[in-house]
Amino acid sequence: MNTDPTRRDSPAPVVLRAHGIRRAFALGKARSLEILHGIDIALHRGERVALMGASGAGKSTLLHILGLLDRPDEGEIEIDGRDPWACSVAERASIRNQRLGFVFQFYHLLPELTAIENVLLPSMIARGAVDWRRSRGELRARAEHALAEFGLADRMRHKPPQLSGGERQRVAIARALFTDPELLLADEPTGNLDKATGETVLELLLAEQEKRGLSMLLVTHDSRLAAHCERVLTIEDGVIQADSAHPIPL
C-alpha cells in the first residue's frame, strides 16, 4: 500500500503540492502555539477534496497557507512547479488572481460595490486602465451572463447589504470563478447559511466544479457535505490523520 499522500497515483497532474507545512501562532510574548505540525497535501486537476476537522483544528489556517495568503513557518508549497514564496510579491498576487479562487464562509464581498462590480473585481485587479477600457464591454457581458446563470439576473445592480446570505454567496462564487482558476479554495461556504439555502449553494458549487473540471478544496466540519467529495482529508492535532484516497493502515 502506498502511504505517501503526495505521490501521484492518478494520471491527473498536480495543481498544488504542499510538503511539511508547519505554522505556529504567538501567544503573548514568549509562548507560541503550533497549529500545523507538518502537513503534506497534493491536489490534482479536477479533483474534489473535502478537508474535515473539528472547529479550531487549523483548517482555515491551512487553506490560507495553500491560498498564499499566509506564509508557513516551515515546509514548501509548489504551484505549477514553482515555489510561490520564492517569487516576487507581484507574481504571488498574480497567482492568486489567475490560478486560485476563494470562497469564504462570510462571503467577503466589498459592500460599496454592486454584485456585478464585485464579480468584475478580479478582472479589474488584473488589468491596467487601458486594458480594462478595451475589454470592459466583453467582461461585463460575461459577468452578467454568469450572474444570470446563478439566478441573480435581477440582483446585478444590488449591493451586498441588499442581498440575502444565499445570494451573497452565489455572487462570491461567481467572483471566484470569473478568472477561470485552476483551484477553488472554499472555506465552509455553507457555514453561514440555513440548511436549504446551503444545499442549493453547494449544488451550484459542485455543478460548476464538475462542468469546469477544476480542482476544489472544500473545508467543512459537516460530514454530509464531505460525502459529496471523492476524497476526504481529516485534520486532527495539526496533521492529516486520514486521507480517504490513501487510507492509513492501523
Binding site: H64, L69, H108, L113, I125
Partner: protein, 484 residues
C-alpha cells in the same frame, strides 16, 4: 484599474472623505483670497514707499575731491536727458539740509546757549524746485474757461516740464484742514502772500509741511528763520548761514516724514541762499513707459551721460543714475520679505487640511481592513493597496483644490462687492475704509501663486496620505479575513 475605481467609489461612499475635500477647498480658497489681498496691499504700500520719487533719479557727484568736471548748472544734463525719446519729462531739484527754530528765536542764540530742549533747533530738508513755466501754469485756467463754454482743450504735454510733480497736485487738491494754510494761488506757489511784512528787502517764500506748520504754531505770512551750512571755498570751513523767509503756505504729502520735516522753496532762491555752492543736486526723470524701459533707459543714461561728462565715470558712476527701486531697495526688500513670510505662515492652513486627510484616511484604513484583505486575496498587491489610498487623497486634492482655486479667484476678483454684501448682511463694517488709505480693498490675483497653491495642496494631501496608505499596505489580511 481597481485603484482609481475603488478610490473614487470610497470617496463618495464615505461622507467623511468630503470633509477632507472641503478642507482642501477652504484652505486653497482662503490662501488665494488672502494672498491676493496681501499682494494688493503690498502693491499699494509699494506705491506709498515710492512716495514722491520720480522714476529715475540722477545725482551727479559734484564734489571737487572726486575730480569730476561735471557742470555746475543742470541745464546741459536736463537737455541731454530730455532728448531721449523714452523720457517723458525731467526737472532739477536742489536738496540741502537746514535748521529751523521756534518763532522769534534767533538760531545763533540757541546754538550758543545750550538751553532747554524746548528751544532745540529742528533739522529740515530744504527742497528747491523749479516751478512750472507760465504756459503750464495758465493752461488749466484756460482749459476751465473753454470748458464753461462747452469746448474741450487737450491736456498739455510739454516735455520741458516735469508735469508729474506731486507738489503741484497736492497744492491744487482740496484744502487739508482748518488750522492749515494752503497757498493763496497753487499755480504760483512761491508768490509772496498778501499779508507779508513790507519792511526790509523782499524775502523769498517757502512752503512748510502741514504738520511742521502746526507744531511750530505758524501762520501764513510769518517770518521763518532758516539756518544752513555751506563750505567756504576760501577757508574750507563750514560756517552757519542764516536767512529769513516768508511762510507762503503749507503742503500735505500724506507721508509723515515729509509733512514733518520738509520745506519747499524755489530752486534759484535756495541756490542763492547756499551762495551758489550748488545749483542743483539731482535731476528727476519721468519715463513714458517705466515698466518696460526702466532697465534699458537707466543703462543708456549711465553710458551717455558719462560719455558727455555730465556724471562722473568710475566706480561711483552707477550710483549716480538710479531707478526709484534702487533708491528704496531696502524698503522694497522688506515688503517682499513680508510677502514671503506671510505666504509661509498661511501655508500652515494647507498643513491643517492635510492633517484632516491624514485623520480621515487613517480611520478609513481601519474601517476597510476587511476590504483590504479581500483585495489581497483577489490578487491585489500591497503596493496597489497603497496606491489606492493615495488615490483617495489625490481625488480630494484634485476636486478640492480645483473648486478652491475657482472660489478663491472669484472671491479675490469680487472682494469689494462681496465685502459690502457681507457687511450689510452682518451689520458690521468688515473693511474700514477710513482706517486704510484705500477706498476699496486692493486685490491682485497672481496666476503663478494660484498654481503654486494648488500644487502645494496636492503635495500636502499626498504627503499626509502617505502614512495611512503605507499602513494599509502593511496590514495582515488574515486578521481581517478570518472573521466577519
Amino acid at each position: 484599474m481597481y485603484r482609481s475605481f475603488l478610490s473614487w467609489r470610497y470617496l463618495f461612499a464615505r461622507r467623511t472623505n468630503l470633509i477632507g475635500m472641503v478642507g482642501i477647498l477652504v484652505a486653497v480658497a482662503a490662501l488665494i483670497l488672502i494672498l491676493s489681498i496681501m499682494t494688493g496691499f503690498l502693491d499699494a504700500s509699494r506705491d506709498a514707499v515710492r512716495g514722491s520719487l520720480a522714476d529715475i533719479i540722477i545725482e551727479p557727484n559734484q564734489g571737487v575731491e572726486a575730480g569730476s568736471e561735471v557742470p555746475r548748472d543742470p541745464y546741459e544734463l536736463l537737455h541731454a536727458v530730455r532728448s531721449d525719446e523714452r523720457v517723458q519729462a525731467a526737472t532739477s531739484q536742489l536738496i540741502w539740509a537746514g535748521l529751523i527754530t521756534q518763532r522769534g528765536k534767533k538760531l545763533d542764540h540757541i546754538l550758543a546757549s545750550q538751553g532747554s530742549t524746548a528751544n532745540n533747533p529742528i533739522l529740515v530738508q530744504l527742497v528747491g524746485i523749479d516751478t512750472a513755466g507760465p504756459l503750464r501754469v495758465t493752461w488749466p485756467a484756460l482749459q476751465a474757461a473753454v470748458r464753461t463754454v462747452g469746448g474741450i482743450l487737450p491736456d498739455l504735454h510739454v516735455q520741458d516740464e516735469f508735469d508729474t510733480t506731486r507738489l503741484l497736485a497736492a497744492l491744487t487738491g482740496e484744502a487739508s484742514g482748518p488750522t492749515l494754510a494752503p497757498v493763496e494761488n497753487p499755480l504760483f506757489p512761491f508768490a509772496p502772500p498778501s499779508r507779508r511784512p513790507r519792511r526790509g528787502r523782499p524775502k523769498a517764500s517757502v512752503l512748510v509741511g502741514e504738520q511742521l506748520f502746526d507744531i511750530f504754531n505758524m501762520r501764513r505770512g510769518d517770518i521763518l528763520q532758516i539756518g544752513t551750512i555751506v563750505q567756504d571755498p576760501e577757508t574750507g570751513e563750514w560756517p552757519l548761514n542764516n536767512r529769513e523767509f516768508v511762510v507762503a503756505g503749507t503742503f500735505r504729502s500724506g507721508q509723515n516724514e515729509a509733512d514733518m520735516g520738509r520745506i519747499y522753496l524755489d530752486r534759484g532762491e535756495l541756490s542763492d541762499f547756499l551762495g551758489h555752492f550748488r545749483d542743483y543736486t539731482q535731476v528727476l526723470v519721468a519715463a513714458r513707459d517705466y515698466e518696460h524701459d526702466a532697465a534699458s533707459l537707466t543703462a543708456d543714461l549711465r553710458r551717455d551721460l558719462a560719455e558727455r561728462g555730465l556724471i562722473s565715470e568710475g566706480p561711483r558712476g552707477p550710483y549716480e543714475v538710479r531707478t526709484w527701486e534702487e533708491f528704496r531697495v531696502n524698503l522694497l526688500g522688506a515688503i517682499e520679505n513680508e510677502r514671503v513670510l506671510m505666504a509661509i505662515m498661511l501655508s500652515l492652513v494647507l498643513v491643517v487640511a492635510g492633517f484632516t486627510i491624514f485623520a480621515i484616511l487613517s480611520m478609513m484604513v481601519s474601517e476597510k481592513r476587511r476590504d483590504i484583505g479581500i483585495l489581497l486575496a483577489l490578487g491585489a498587491t500591497p503596493r496597489g493597496i497603497r496606491q489606492m489610498f493615495l488615490f483617495i487623497a489625490f481625488w480630494d486634492a484634485l476636486l478640492g483644490s480645483l473648486a478652491g482655486a475657482l472660489l478663491g479667484t472669484w472671491g479675490a476678483l469680487r472682494i469689494d462687492p462681496l465685502e459690502r454684501a457681507l457687511s450689510r448682511f452682518f451689520g458690521v463694517e468688515i473693511f474700514n475704509r477710513q482706517v486704510y488709505l484705500f477706498d476699496h480693498i486692493p486685490s491682485i490675483v497672481q496666476p503663478l501663486a494660484v498654481a503654486l497653491i494648488v500644487l502645494g495642496a496636492f503635495a500636502c494631501a499626498l504627503l499626509f496620505a502617505a502614512i495611512p496608505a503605507w499602513r494599509a499596505s502593511k496590514l495582515d489580511p488574515l486578521a481581517a479575513l478570518r472573521y466577519e
